[in-house]
Symmetry: D2
Subunit: 242 residues, 4 copies
């Protein structure tokens, strides 16, 4: 898989096969031989640049049937849990695989990410997405995580579910001493319940945070926070087994 970008900054995922565009085609051979930074031309002369396939580009372009976590929320989970190479991660629900791919890209070949998704269709889409990107350190289970986490000695568990409180007890068993549980919830009532159940199950260092990322437009007429900003995404509750 490669990512091409045209001169209007539009990006395309291309597989190792002929690439068809409105302005002509690029041969399979050209695609296969292309390296990062190369310029490829269609037979009609339109130029594309091969760029390093960044995980965020891929997540933006991959197939999905649901909304996905934003880079800012995934980044906050990574920043506050100190996720790194070699770590073992469990997460649910998989959705299209955005957080799965982000975590797998970080933990690398010595680490592993197991993702639970109870909806078969979504699990299949995520499997296809992971396969196309080429990461080999993931397992997608078409199972309901509220029935139990099978993995042990986990460094970080991430939950993006409507009812994360039903997983907290088994999350505690699965985590290493020092491991983190990160829970993303859009609603206030959800973090209130999560907080209560975390305390009851012995989790420590419980922090509920809300990330308000403001984008600042810098234009000729002046700079100001973007007034169409994303606003609220969700609350991130991070706690620890100590």
């Amino acid at each position: 898989m490669k990512i091409l970008i045209d001169n209007k900054e539009k990006k395309y995922i291309v597989k190792n096969e002929e690439f068809h565009t409105e302005k002509g085609l690029i041969t399979k051979e050209d695609i296969i031989n292309a390296k990062e930074g190369d310029k490829l031309k269609t037979h009609m002369g339109k130029e594309f640049t091969v760029i390093k396939p960044n995980i965020n580009d891929y997540i933006e372009l991959m197939k999905r049937k649901c909304s996905i976590l934003l880079p800012q929320d995934i980044g906050l989970v990574i920043g506050f849990t100190g996720l790194g190479h070699k770590d073992k991660v469990v997460e649910a629900g998989t959705g299209a695989g955005a957080s799965l791919l982000s975590f797998a890209n970080i933990v690398g070949p010595e680490g592993h990410v197991t993702s639970y998704e109870k909806r078969e269709e979504f699990a299949q889409i995520a499997k296809d997405n992971v396969k196309q990107y080429g990461l080999e350190n993931t397992t997608i289970k078409n199972k309901d995580i509220t029935e139990g986490i099978e993995e042990e000695d986990i460094d970080m568990i991430f939950l993006d579910l409507p009812n994360p409180w039903d997983v907290i007890e088994s999350a505690y068993s699965s985590l290493k001493i020092g491991g983190f549980l990160a829970i993303y919830t859009p609603y206030i009532e959800q973090f209130q319940t999560v907080h209560k159940v975390l305390k009851k199950n012995g989790f420590k260092n419980i922090h509920v945070r809300e990330g308000n990322i403001k984008e600042i437009e810098v234009k000729n007429k002046g700079s100001r926070p973007n007034s169409r900003m994303a606003g609220h995404t969700g609350y991130i509750t991070i706690s620890r087994k100590l």
Copy 2:
């Protein structure tokens, strides 16, 4: 190096030697043999638990002579640049090594982080900090990065400097096609200059963001955003060589 935690959640870095506390000592042998999750007791009976040495624990406890970037800002840089294992990173200034350690922990043994620090004393502290943690994928250069970046084919460059604009031109040369430049600045006037110089040097997808992370206190008397919250830390400007 190991991290111990007592029953009041206070954490300690211990080296492979006898560990002295106010409530007695733990022998060198016990320290060396300890595994994650083990409970160690001093000769006076005080108990410590060995936890997985998380990078954030270490950064919190390590030696420093300056303020350090917060996990939220490091997380946002990671989230928006899609940093992952195998990536090659350049950064400046090193300071005590907080962002260096965070990035190195992510890029892993197949990646590398080179950090420029012109103040000799700080470079030495950072070298000691990295050595103690045991990461072997870093290089700390006691050099002024405004005199030029020597590395090439870089995936991500991160700058936390008073005058980042002086590095933008050489950052452009050092980056791969598709690579990211992330610049952290506390002041408005800084991102205004940074934005101008980025545009002039051909950077694309320039985004200036401000992260306002709100912590919500959940207590018996009620929940509310913490009124002693950290507030503003800085602006993060991320752009790309395309």
Copy 3:
């Protein structure tokens, strides 16, 4: 003038004349005799309630050809300057008259608001809007305020102009000792210039503030900050002649 509301909470301004709706009409006599709280029926049976004509209802419904200041920004100006009955206010530019009406509604018959608007069409619309609402403590001048403020002994001056810095010197002369100058600007570069010129002209207690009013949706499925929130409106710089 009266304000009627139907059972879907839609509001209507009615003058002392017959009121036509899609569901029939209400006679002039009924309108004239109606008191707050009365229910009026069209000849086809649709019911309307007469409500106290609140200034915000009126501003929402009145004629305009431009965007208007939001209640939150007007409220912050009032809150931080302590505006009250009897105060003498000068403001520019008038626009449709939203801030003029809000201030006039507060300063009352013993106070006065003079508003400068250089565009004749806007000045006329604002005059019509004020006349219809029935406040008699205002003067709208079809003049460019940058050519000088003619009023003296003013308690509060409010500027919502592209170039407020051109008015700062004459604002200083017009204000009482202890009076406030409040300046609303959407852009960062504007408050930077405003701040500089305020200091140069001897203003004290200079505060630049940004109001981020978050609305929280409380629904059956849960509560959360509205994700389509208004976001940034502008910066409010308030200073004082001391």
Copy 4:
């Protein structure tokens, strides 16, 4: 009562009597004859300027035994309810009288503010504060508002109480058609209960808002949001009897 300010911008309330300072005294005669803008000198030569007694200056300086509402929160209540001269207001609890004074300063001699305070000591302090400022359009009742609101045809009711839900039913009876109920609460759980009880009692146009006022420091080394900012104060829930 007059307000004097020294050359370090420190303000003083002075009554019509001799004014003693560390740097000498000002005679009763000088105080009584002083007009806004006059400069007064102590016998030792220290100079004070007489400024217009702004309501916020007075609130800042007056006697109190409790925390008071900030100008920003009072301003948002005024802005969103469109409070103006002639309005009839009821509020509770009085505390030191900060919101009482702010509202009374706006509604003027044709309006009135009735304030309920069940703690006798607080009621007395507030009475003294109002008397010293000289507003004659207020009534402070040393009563528990949860036992019923005695006033009728009210334009705006403001509650700053631990249990505002106990007042919602009687607030509905007291308000005019079109009148507003504004409730200030620091905690999330409070606005959740308030919202439920408002709906049950027939209130319309219910809006829960959180005001995050950011102050921006403009200094020589650069501008940035103040990192010691106040942060969260409370939630303001405004609804209407329609």
